[in-house]
């Protein structure tokens, strides 16, 4: 019985979403989770990431289907609007539940 429980805990650890688990991407997902949409500048300011770094992580999240990136012009100035997709929100919620369970099982 203990062995089964131990295996379940290990499986939970293995099931952690590696796309979200990276610290910079976790921060990006967390900020996008609390907004309906935000532009690139807002995310850059909130996360403290450099422009290039942020761009690179957003590309990975977009490739995973978690983030939607829309480019538009607002009074002739380009603006990139970012938002979590439905699967992105579900993935973030699942990641949060998973991590909570894993952290609860840790000794100390």
């Amino acid at each position: 019985m203990d062995e089964i429980r131990e295996n379940d805990n290990l499986r939970q650890l293995a099931e952690i979403d590696r796309i979200i688990h990276e610290p910079a991407r976790l921060l990006i997902m967390a900020y996008l989770f609390v907004v309906e949409s935000a532009d690139f500048l807002f995310l850059e300011r909130q996360t403290g990431l450099t422009r290039g770094n942020l761009s690179s992580h957003l590309t990975k999240l977009e490739d995973a289907g978690y983030v939607e990136i829309k480019k538009e012009f607002v009074e002739k100035i380009p603006r990139t609007l970012l938002s979590l997709t439905k699967s992105g929100r579900q993935a973030f919620n699942a990641y949060r539940k998973n991590m909570k369970h894993v952290l609860d099982e840790l000794p100390g």
């Binding site: 900020y31 609390v34 907004v35 532009d39 690139f40 807002f42 909130q46 957003l58 949060r96």
Partner: protein
Amino acid sequence: MSNKALSGGIEKKAVRTIRRDGLETIGLGIFLAVLAIFIYDIRYGGITGLGVLGFILLPPFLRKYITYPRVGYAKFIEKNDPRAVIASIAIVILCLVLFYLIGSNEKYGFLMPLFLGILFALFIFWLAYRTGMAINYILGILYLATGNIGFCFTYYGFESGLVTSSMLFLLALATIIAGSAQTMWFMRKNPRVVGETDG
């Protein structure tokens, strides 16, 4: 830290980034000035509606030119909790009813400065919580103090309408100055991003 606390902390930080521009404080100051005119002379009642519109529409309009080019744009998720909506409507109706009862009855007219001082103090304390700006807490204390001083004047026989409108006008001035100071601080702390803001 619980999940709710963590996401609450992130959301609070994100909201405050935008709300700290001082524009809502300026909007409130303009509304108080308009209300002062209405209380001084009830014939200017229509102007109060403009004041309310100004408070609601001016900050979002100015944000496009002052705030978003500096800290970026975000649209926050609207939490349409029916209980919160019903409670807000109930509070507004209660305040309007009390305002009417106190204002229309000479017997209770002397309470108007105290009532408005407390009402707007509570509002600005709520604004202070949303923005995290200490200056709004100071304004709230000023509102309470001024309401009490106004009450003393009206209790000892001074004309309620004149005392209340003078009090509101002074508070309007203080609020607009405080809001403008907030906006200038915000603009200095967050220089405008020139050119393309995209990655």
